[in-house]
Symmetry: C2
Subunit: 552 residues, 2 copies
């Protein structure tokens, strides 16, 4: 896989554009007072970056070359820069300005678990710091070395560990190396008739090891589970040897070691392999669009589905603000599209009594045999109707399914236009969702008002469970200026995160802690919880060689 841009999301040359979306420019102008035709900023040029020389002691370099061969030990400036940070909005703003972090001194690419172990031994022997690197898509600050780190910093890029090692078809388990990217994992599995079924927005630029280290969750988690549910056996290179947990379906063997590695962000070791659930590619896969009169109607319908005997693969409901954004994102509608849309709006307003400003777009996914899908569609249709909802067919779902991996590019597009835009997501109980939603929206608008900037916040429910769901917020505003942007962003982001923990929700549902969410950890898991994490990390890694400063 080629590396992502050092200053933004995705590959060089790929970017988000408003030009094929006629309704988007007026929407953005209205929402945050930005003229998208007018770029006001750009990343500094690479050759103007003040990239410091690496500080790599000769002995350590020799040991790393012995571990992985010289070919896979890189001190190239661009390579080090790409590995210096992830893709949080703070990362993007700072990279674009040329405000560089404590850069890694070297990037190594081990080709086997033994080589990973040799790298870690060399690092510990040289009192160096090791930061595991998957796809580099972290948006919580999990990849940046502490600013004051004086020891050598080694970024361990796992991209060469990209194979499906074997499939136990009788148990529907695959042994997979941790460095594999989403598309390559699915390609290898699909060739054998299987899917892992994990499709986070970062899918094209994130890896199995990264998903495990951050407790990732994908779009079809209602069917496949979160990564925490799908990962059974683990192999992790630690300072005291290779940790191995068995791929048993459940165990009563003390506190779960597996669940300590999940979400550990490199603090316990380097994940090299996992044994994961796989499933036969389903006969049928459909995502249907629905409209609900209000957000709370949509949430109530999702709760009914979660409480029912009906199994779906995707539950998603946008609030009215995100619904309007979705409509504004439509690509060049044809005349037929326009007429249909007008007819639908008339029907909704006059026949169903919808307030079109309150209306909410929803997607529900179905997977399995034809019969199963048909039955679930009918049953879910009845539940949706009970909450005033209306099925609008598979068109919107197909579009959403095709476009979802493009969404992360939009942040760079907005930064070019002086507008920070970002996401914050959380989870709480079903009964807590609406109060939480109201509190977060109020907090975001309070922050916009405090900053005196025009801002927009929108939300969707993205994953449903027995007792609650994930709410995913997206926000953007027009910064006062380039210099004020980072500070203003932090005011808004902090207001939202604080509203999460103040309202009984968690600091993140699937984006991890890193450094950016760490300020809310104690409010989320209580002081004794933080003490337990510290005990675990300090005891496992007394020399603080493993990605220090993250989580706690």
């Amino acid at each position: 896989m080629p590396a992502m841009k050092w200053w933004g999301w995705g590959y060089e040359g790929v970017e988000f554009s408003h030009e094929d979306k006629p309704a988007l420019a007026p929407f953005i102008a209205e929402a945050i007072g930005i003229d998208v035709a007018h770029k006001v900023a750009a990343p500094v040029r690479f050759d103007q970056l003040p990239i410091p020389d690496p500080k790599l002691p000769e002995g350590l370099r020799a040991a790393l070359e012995r571990a992985v061969t010289a070919r896979f030990v890189s001190i190239d400036a661009r390579d080090r820069l790409v590995h210096a940070r992830g893709k949080s909005l703070r990362d993007l703003i700072r990279q674009r300005r040329g405000a560089l972090p404590r850069m890694p001194d070297v990037v190594v690419r081990p080709g086997s678990e033994d080589e990973v172990a040799a790298v870690l031994r060399a690092a510990i022997d040289a009192d160096a710091v090791v930061i595991p690197f998957g796809g580099g898509s972290s948006i919580s600050g999990s990849l940046e070395a502490p600013a004051a780190e004086t020891r050598p910093v080694i970024s361990v890029d796992l991209e060469r560990l990209d194979k499906v090692v074997e499939i136990d078809s009788g148990s529907r388990l695959a042994r997979v190396q941790a460095g594999v990217f989403g598309p390559r994992l699915e390609d290898q599995l699909r060739a054998l008739g299987y899917t892992f079924g994990h499709f986070p927005d970062s899918f094209t630029h994130s890896t199995l090891g990264g998903w495990i280290a951050t407790r990732s969750s994908g779009m079809q988690s209602d069917r496949y589970g979160d990564v925490a549910d799908m990962v059974k056996g683990l192999r992790v290179v630690t300072p005291s040897g290779t940790l191995v947990t068995r791929p048993v379906p459940a165990a009563s063997n003390g506190p779960s070691i597996r669940e300590m590695v999940l979400g550990s962000e490199g603090r316990l070791g380097i994940i090299t392999e996992a044994t994961v659930h796989v499933r036969r590619i389903p006969q049928e896969r459909t995502i249907l669009g629905y409209l609900f009169p209000t957000f709370s109607d949509g949430l109530a319908a999702m709760e009914d589905i979660a409480a029912s005997e009906h199994a779906v693969s995707v539950t998603r409901v946008a609030d009215s603000h995100e619904t309007q954004f979705s409509f504004a994102m439509r690509v060049r509608p044809t005349l037929v599209d326009k007429l249909q849309s007008r007819a639908l709006r008339t029907f909704l307003r006059h026949r169903l009594g919808f307030d079109l400003n309150q209306m909410c777009l929803s997607f529900i996914g179905f997977e399995g045999s034809d019969r199963h899908v048909a039955r679930q569609r009918r049953a879910v249709g009845r539940l949706v109707k009970r909450h005033g909802g209306l099925c609008i067919g598979s068109g919107p779902g197909v579009l959403y399914d095709q476009k979802k991996f493009d969404i992360p590019y939009i942040r760079d597009f907005l930064l070019d236009r002086g507008a920070p835009g970002d996401v914050s997501e959380t989870a709480t109980t079903w009964s807590g969702l609406m109060p939480l939603y109201d509190a977060v929206v109020t907090a975001a608008h309070g922050a916009f008002t405090e900053l005196a900037v025009p801002g927009y916040v929108m939300c969707h429910l993205s994953h449903s469970y027995h007792a609650g769901a994930c709410l995913y917020f997206t926000f953007a505003f027009r910064a006062t200026g380039e210099a004020e942007m980072l500070g203003e962003y932090e005011v808004v982001k902090s207001a939202i995160q604080q509203a999460f923990v103040d309202n009984g929700a968690t600091l993140s549902h699937h984006h991890a802690v890193g450094t950016e969410h760490a300020p809310w950890l104690q409010e989320d898991i209580s002081a004794p919880g933080v003490a337990m994490l510290s005990a675990l990390f300090n005891g496992t890694d007394p020399g603080r060689h493993l990605n220090p400063g993250k989580i706690v």
Copy 2:
């Protein structure tokens, strides 16, 4: 709840009897050479026990009385004895002989979380040891103080914390105090139309806190999940204050604190409350009996069900040995029963070609709406048929359902007759089940041969998952004599446990580690896994006040 017998399972006066089961005596005589009419042993009399006086410093006693009032601080000899151990077979053998352990010096019964916190503070201030006590049903040695413990030992019995505090019906979550016993929990929930749905064999004598501390699993886990799945929020009194995890459905907030408390057996603190999934009482609940030609046919059918879109509540398949035991357990068959049974056997042998010595009894449970149950029954029926299985109706399932909580009494019945009988359970992948089964049976018979004792081992699959299942083994043998019994038992039990870890399985699926399974922990979770547990325990409880010596 009254306490269990100090020397055996359940309440005084309740015991297992063979007298209403005409086929059982000949079965046991054949299997392990025991004449059930002939009792050869009995527990020593309580008044002959050498119960030592408690060593309770006056300052600690006063502090405990301040914490919970004098009424709930007990130094009664019988009370201390009941709290000295759980109900493992090693516990039973030793209690019956009067071979007493390091007894607790005092039993305290706090009535609130604040009182639990005050007890723990008093214990730490006095450098005492605290052992949390739920129902006392542990069969892995989780409740016994280390033999060489010189500090005061406090058993903290949580029986007064027995309330359902509140139900969030919109989220299907209940806040429940940890000391509640199974029946009282279900009674409180059923009065409100809900069930927790957790029915381990120990149900009548175990508590929510105990289930959490041991990662328990119940008979209907295929539908309701294991306790690890059903428990969300937790409150735990720890040396550094009250740990609180939020009842969110999922979170990406670092290694899971919740999953550290699950299975912690008192080593991290005293669990006082949990917020757990509840469900509406289902409209329909059925357990059907099936027969399969062989054990591997039955396992293959369960795997097909696990891989299918069909949701069941119970999957259970006995091997041929356990099937024959089940048939021998039948109560006074009527003439009609006998005729039906004869007709069925003829049909199976001559029409289906069953070898009746290989035949396996299976139960599959269905729950939900009438329509859902009817549909799943039909679909599962087709899968069963594909593996040569035959539905034999609901009679056996009803019987099993009524009798399952009586099974633990059988160990005392056998001990009275000179025969140790016990259980060992594990989990592995679907493809690993048959090799594991064969290896365990071989290991058990190897141990019987080595000891030159007549022995019997039988097995059932008890819980199914996407990628594997739990195998539950039961074994019994005629000991050479009273003096040899404990040592001989340990030879057999060890052979079985060793076969588990030698064949890729875990040391226990739902019976925990305690002291009895601890010898296999490192083989199960690897040395770095043990190091992580030690780091967690030592860092959280540096003074080793919390149930020392358990798990690691």
